[in-house]
């Protein structure tokens, strides 16, 4: 009967994304000293931009967690394993058992684990006698308790966990360059997992947002949450490209463009604070998203010319290393 609680593993939320959880685990493990902004850029997660056409709150986490969070770790040279599924599937109890076992094993190795609890949370300990996991979801409530049997039972029908295993040394310059390639991929490619009738990705996400604001078919509270998450992501990306620009001065205009995008998002949040219904300010909001889109498009264009050789050599699939 074992009990383990990792010391000092705490999570804070900024973008309320996977990055918040990953950053907590990696920093605690001593595997990175990067800021969340740098992590968001290097893992490419900051560049992902997808929305439900009705701007539902799940938009920022509507992506292939298994693939993309694996890649996030892989791009950083961190080996990981993960699993996910529908909690209503008959095999779920088998997977729940394995999940808890894997998470406990990770905690025994002194590494926190990421899992889904209607948001990405970090498992920081367990107690066999009580049959619970201790976790932090960044809500400020400190370590919370989750009985083993309740793992994976969420409001959303998904269960998911990721174990971060070990690190491999990578050339940081290659990480930065690869992230730029992936940023282009994210801007231009629709996520296969999301039906196009209901979701839009990359550049088209802006169009979907503008359309929703025009048409009014959305819940402003949920939309507000979506914009907050992405405002943090855009800010992270602006910071990240800024750091890259100190290495490669040619990227400075791209950094500025992203900062413009981030600023537009901040302005959006400002307008929403003033008009939570988003009806009165709809036109101004659309204008701001338009600005954000144009600035981000400019940034991508600059990144593309910076990376043109490698882009050409990846032919149809800019995302495939």
């Amino acid at each position: 009967m074992a009990k383990t609680i990792l010391k000092d593993l705490r999570m804070t939320t900024e973008s309320r994304s996977y990055i918040d959880a990953m950053h907590a685990v990696l920093t605690h493990a001593g595997w990175t000293s990067c800021s969340k902004a740098m992590l968001a850029g290097m893992t490419v997660t900051g560049f992902r931009f997808a929305v439900h056409r009705h701007l539902t709150a799940e938009s920022p986490t509507a992506y292939n967690w298994v693939a993309e969070n694996f890649l996030a770790a892989d791009f950083m040279g961190v080996t990981a394993s993960s699993s996910a599924g529908f909690a209503f599937h008959p095999t779920f109890p088998l997977y729940r058992q394995e999940a808890v076992a894997e998470i406990k094993a990770s905690l025994d190795r002194g590494i926190g684990a990421v899992f889904w609890k209607d948001c990405f949370a970090v498992a920081a300990g367990y107690d066999d006698e009580e049959g619970i996991l201790y976790y932090d979801d960044g809500s400020g409530h400190g370590l919370q308790r989750l009985p083993y049997g309740e793992f994976g039972q969420n409001r959303s029908p998904y269960w998911y966990y990721q174990i971060l295993e070990d690190t491999v040394e990578l050339d940081p310059i290659e990480i930065y360059k690869e992230s730029l390639m992936q940023a282009i991929y994210k801007w231009e490619t629709h996520d296969r997992m999301l039906p196009e009738a209901d979701y839009a990705c990359g550049s088209k996400a802006y169009d979907a947002i503008k359309q929703a604001l025009h048409g009014g078919a959305f819940d402003p509270v949920q939309a507000g949450e979506v914009f907050e998450c992405y405002a943090a992501a855009k800010r992270d990306v602006g910071e990240y490209i800024g750091v890259l620009a100190s290495l490669w001065p040619q990227l400075e205009p791209a950094a500025q463009a992203y900062r413009k995008t981030a600023q537009a998002f901040l302005d959006v949040l400002g307008l929403i604070a003033e008009d939570p219904s988003m009806k009165r300010q709809a036109r101004n909001l659309v204008r701001l998203f338009d600005e954000a889109q144009r600035a981000e498009q400019e940034a991508i264009g600059l990144i593309k010319s910076f990376m043109h050789e490698r882009i050409r050599n990846r032919f149809d699939h800019v995302g495939l290393r």
């Binding site: 040394e169 050339d171 360059k177 100190s246 050789e309 290393r321």
Partner: protein, 301 residues
């Protein structure tokens, strides 16, 4: 930069005493004046041609009449062989390692492949003359075991240091030199594109141990051979037993490497050994094989 045929033409015109100009080049190949000018610059800078502009003729000549375009003159037949090879390498699987693609491109360039003309999906590399030059200097230093003074710019800042270059490598999308750093006492990788300048010194160095070059783990892995431990019936002269690499393991035993177990089994049936110690699976396989043969010999089904 598939401009070799234009360079070649320009070179011929100079030799023929025609004093070609950038305008001539542009007209001949229906390219822009700026492109033509770039070709001329390439000839002068990268190919180190002793170009001189003769105002009287409003065109170019060579200061040194004995100058030869290095390694670039080739027959049509040679070009077609290279084009063929370039295509073969280029078509080599979509997940081909980048080394293969680079070869394809290099071959294509020498053959003067035009972009779009059957170049298809050959990767294209900006041939940065500076990188090529640095690479050349490092290759020389490696061969001559000369210490190199590097002026290097990385995200940690700029610095200068003396290193002993050991190997040039290409990984994923970048070129590196593995070099041993004397006062740190270890080998690390330096990106070629982060080298501001370098100077090959007259000091020579000794490398005593291989040292572990970082990031090498990323290389597409090579298949390891199986190793059998055999006691041979006589001492081995040289490092191979019937073509299989062999290392003495003491007491008349040898460790012998092989990839194809069926072929190696066949070799074993020819004798020349007294004892097969390991691996166990090989012994089992050989025993089964012999058992089957004996059954046939004894007329059993």
């Amino acid at each position: 930069m598939s401009n070799m045929h234009r360079i070649h033409w320009f070179d011929q015109r100079i030799r023929g005493g025609h004093y070609p100009s950038s305008r001539d080049l542009a007209l001949q190949f229906e390219i822009s004046r700026r492109q033509a000018q770039r070709d001329i610059e390439y000839l002068a800078v990268s190919l180190r041609a002793p170009l001189v502009y003769i105002a009287k003729h409003r065109g170019y000549g060579y200061e040194d009449k004995t100058y030869m375009l290095p390694h670039l003159y080739m027959t049509e037949e040679e070009k077609s062989v290279l084009k063929f090879l370039a295509r073969k390498y280029g078509e080599y699987s979509t997940d081909a390692p980048s080394g293969v693609q680079r070869v394809a491109h290099l071959l294509g360039r020498f053959a003067g492949e035009e972009e779009g003309e059957g170049a298809g999906r050959l990767p294209y590399f900006d041939a940065d003359p500076r990188l090529i030059h640095i690479s050349g200097q490092l290759a020389f230093a490696i061969e001559q075991r000369r210490t190199v003074h590097l002026h290097y710019r990385s995200e940690n800042g700029e610095f200068r240091e003396d290193v002993c270059p050991v190997r040039l490598l290409s990984r994923y999308n970048a070129d590196y030199v593995a070099a041993y750093q004397e006062h740190e006492g270890k080998t690390r990788l330096y990106r070629l594109d982060a080298i501001e300048s370098l100077h090959v010194t007259n000091r020579m160095f000794e490398i005593n141990e291989a040292g572990d070059v970082p990031f090498v783990k990323g290389r597409p892995p090579a298949i390891q051979p199986f190793t059998a431990r055999l006691r041979l019936d006589r001492e081995l002269q040289g490092e191979a037993w019937h073509g299989y690499p062999a290392r003495p393991a003491g007491d008349g035993f040898y460790d012998i490497d092989f990839y194809d177990d069926d072929a190696f089994l066949q070799q074993l049936t020819l004798g020349g050994w007294l004892n097969l110690v390991s691996p166990k699976w090989l012994k089992t396989k050989l025993r089964n094989r012999c058992g089957q043969i004996l059954k046939c010999l004894d007329g059993e089904e």
